[in-house]
Amino acid sequence: MPAARIEFSKGLQDFIQEWKDKPGNLIMILHRVQQEFSYIPREAAERLAEELSMPLAKIYGVITFYHLFKTTKPGKHRIAVCMGTACYLKGGQTLLEECEDILGIKGHEVTDDGLFSIDAVRCVGCCGLAPVLMVGNDVYGKLTKEQVPEIIAKYRG
């Protein structure tokens, strides 16, 4: 069965060409694919298998091994609640539960409208600001549970 042809942007195609013959390229290419689609669709993995002449099983082996690679589409706004030790001690768990309560989803799930998803992540490296949560690339630090609704509301618009 021929692999379904998923559209790759010019930038992604060039990247694959550049890295194609370098040893150990798979993880770098997967990062680039995820940057494009916000996750790694199965069709994209199939196309990579073909272009890199690599078994699909090997590609999935790598995707499923590493936490950062996603096989399902995350929400438009990705909420990452830091669960590094400093944040955990200072109430990260409470922030996570508050997010879950407000959005009515659990960690790793996406809201029905596709707007939000929640992940508990390991240390975003702003321990001085603990507890921290991120929405997309925006970092919010030294938070209390009470500030969470307002932050989420900002992204609903």
């Binding site: 997967l30 091994f65 590493y66 690679f69 001690l89 240390c123 702003c126």
Partner: protein, 595 residues
């Protein structure tokens, strides 16, 4: 054109998250708007370390140290200090004790610190190679290439006594010596920047603040062992560090300090960045190499060590960021100079990410042999909110807890191992009386369950078993037998697991059982959690004598399980209570009781 003033804005991730970039841009546009742009240079530097008070802005030559600065303060800084020459007093850092302005070097946070690794962080613009060069950057590489033989470099490292800062403390010179020996058509130099310990950010700050120090050291290693190719393996979660490293590599290539025929000596060395993808086990060197090779990051048994048979089967020196950052200084100042710092067995300094329940969270670099008391109380300013110190965790999920009685022990590799902990990469997390050791052990074990690669049974099954036992104990259903089992499984894992992750995963649990056995017993026998963290063991109630009947608790209760009125006082329906602790938090009269 000579500037009269320099404004340094912290560009570390912590401060960037609190709008340091906006402050930087606003300072520039204000300088322009107020017509002083030729008098002042605004520079974005690496981390100042004092993250607690960020964002930090420092003005030179006045040495004004501004803390918790906001973008809206930029206008005043330019108008007052640059135009009129007056400090903005309200933004200056003030000590709790001295209410007046204090000099930067007198700030307690910086006293007792000694900066080798972080020598340039917060001083130079990491995106400008000229600033690194102006502070003796690449002098070590030049010295090595022009006047030292590979043997001399190794001899200097040996004299210095430098040991790996990634955790285990293996002598750096020996690694290099092992790789230099064998003949091979290709050898590799690798930088481990996969800082996965939750609660640690030393390496990220070093790469963000001074990327050239790592590049220079790796090139020196390439020359010493005969490698022409290097890789920096860095966490994808550190976008700013990756960006600065990319810029630094490109600039070094432009200047002929990387690439072919470096400084006209015929030596060639090239560097590439490879990204991690969120796997803690990849901090283990053999797993890291597998990941660079593009595979699942699973460790392989050693020997052979990577120094002999590493990346793609070739001799590979792999050191972590902090180790690398020490090397240029050792070459320029000499191994003897370095060896004077530190203790008998551990030379030089150590960078710690001091976090948790201390007043001054931040990045600190101290000579080996400094005591934990000095770090936590003198530099860290003591425990937040005047609470009681409980313990400090070093080594993250691989380390153990250090209790009050050992606060005055000089810290080095051996002393920490002797306490059942380890140096680790430098995470130093302070816990107070509100933290439950069983809960923290469970937290670390959950981390190890997630991060175990699953290759060897002792780790895959052991972490899971230990986690489910810890979970039972925190829920009040643990038994005395469980406690024995935890120790038994833990010791088995230490002996039988394949790699460092599995061998050290039991450490937090074993060390807390050793130091806080009474708390484990309380959870198991009395079904009590004295810190009030384990929700299943906490019962909230109201002290009728103290309750004044204001009803605030009842109004705040999200499940309406508190009833009463002014005359009857309030009571909590324990059945319906979800133990959120809101009532405890809001009561101003201490009438809500925990336990």
């Amino acid at each position: 054109m000579a500037y009269k003033h320099f404004i340094l804005v912290c560009g570390g991730t912590g401060c960037e998250s609190s709008k340091a970039d906006d402050i930087y841009k606003e300072l520039i546009s204000q300088a322009e708007a107020q017509g002083v742009k030729d008098d002042v240079q605004v520079v974005k530097t690496g981390c100042f370390g004092f993250c607690e008070k960020g964002p930090i802005v420092k003005v030179l030559p006045a040495e004004s140290f501004y803390v918790e600065v906001k973008p809206s303060d930029a206008k005043e800084i330019i108008a007052e200090q640059i135009v009129k020459g007056r400090e903005v007093t309200r933004l200056l850092y003030k000590d709790d004790k001295q209410k007046d302005r204090i000099k930067v070097e007198d700030i307690q946070f910086y006293q007792k610190q000694f900066r080798i690794v972080l020598r340039n962080c917060g001083i130079i613009n990491p995106e400008n190679i000229d600033e690194y060069i102006a502070r003796d950057g690449y002098a070590a590489l030049e010295k090595v290439l022009s006047s030292m033989k590979p043997n001399d470099v190794i001899a200097e490292l040996k004299k210095s006594g430098l040991r790996g800062r990634g955790g285990a403390g293996f002598p750096t010179w020996r690694k290099w010596e092992f790789s230099r020996g064998p003949q091979a058509d290709q050898k590799y130099v690798v930088c481990n920047a996969d800082e996965g310990d939750p609660g640690a950010y030393m390496d990220r700050s070093t790469v963000e603040g001074d990327p050239h120090s790592v590049i220079e050291a790796m090139a020196i290693c390439g020359y010493t062992i005969g490698a022409s190719k290097g890789f920096v393996y860095i966490r994808a979660e550190y976008p700013l560090a990756i960006e600065r490293l990319k810029i630094a590599i490109a600039q070094a290539k432009d200047y002929g300090l990387l690439g072919d025929n470096i400084l006209g000596t015929g030596f060639s060395f090239d560097l590439e960045i490879r990204l991690g993808a969120g796997a803690f086990v990849c901090g283990e060197e053999t797993a890291l190499l597998k990941s660079i090779e593009g595979s699942r990051g699973m460790p392989i048994p050693r020997p052979p060590f990577p120094a002999i048979k590493g990346l793609w089967g070739k001799p590979t020196v792999i050191n972590n960021v902090e180790t690398w950052a020490n090397i240029p200084v050792i070459i320029t100042k000499g191994g003897d100079w370095f060896a004077k710092i530190g203790t008998e067995t551990s030379k030089g300094t150590k960078v710690f990410a001091l976090t948790g329940k201390v007043n001054n969270s931040g990045l600190v670099e101290v000579p080996m042999g400094t005591t934990l008391r000095e770090i936590i109380y003198d530099i860290g300013g003591g425990i937040r909110g005047g609470k009681k110190f409980k313990g400090a965790q070093t080594g993250g999920p691989s380390g153990g807890i250090i209790t009050e009685e050992f606060l005055d022990l000089p810290i080095d590799y051996e002393s920490l191992t002797g306490l059942g902990s380890m140096m680790g990469s430098g995470g130093l997390i302070v816990m107070d009386e509100d933290d439950c050791v069983v809960d923290v052990s469970k937290f670390y074990m959950e981390f190890c369950v997630d991060e175990s690669c699953g290759k060897c049974a002792p780790c895959r099954i052991g972490t899971n078993q230990m986690h489910s036992i810890l979970e039972r104990i925190t829920k009040g259903t643990g038994t005395m037998e469980d406690l024995d089992k935890l120790e038994k499984i833990g010791h088995a894992m230490k002996r039988a697991a394949l790699c460092g992750l599995g061998q050290t995963a039991p450490n937090p649990t074993l060390s807390t059982i050793r130091r806080f056995r009474d708390e484990y017993l309380e959870h198991i026998v009395d079904k009590k959690c004295r810190a009030g963290k384990c929700k299943d063991l906490v019962v909230f109630s109201i002290d009728k004598d103290k309750c004044i009947g204001c009803g605030l608790c009842a109004r705040k209760c999200p499940v309406n399980c508190i009833t009463g009125d002014k005359t009857q006082k309030y009571t909590i329906n324990a059945e319906a209570c979800i133990k959120c602790g809101e009532c405890f938090k809001v009561c101003k009269f201490g009438a809500v009781l925990k336990n």
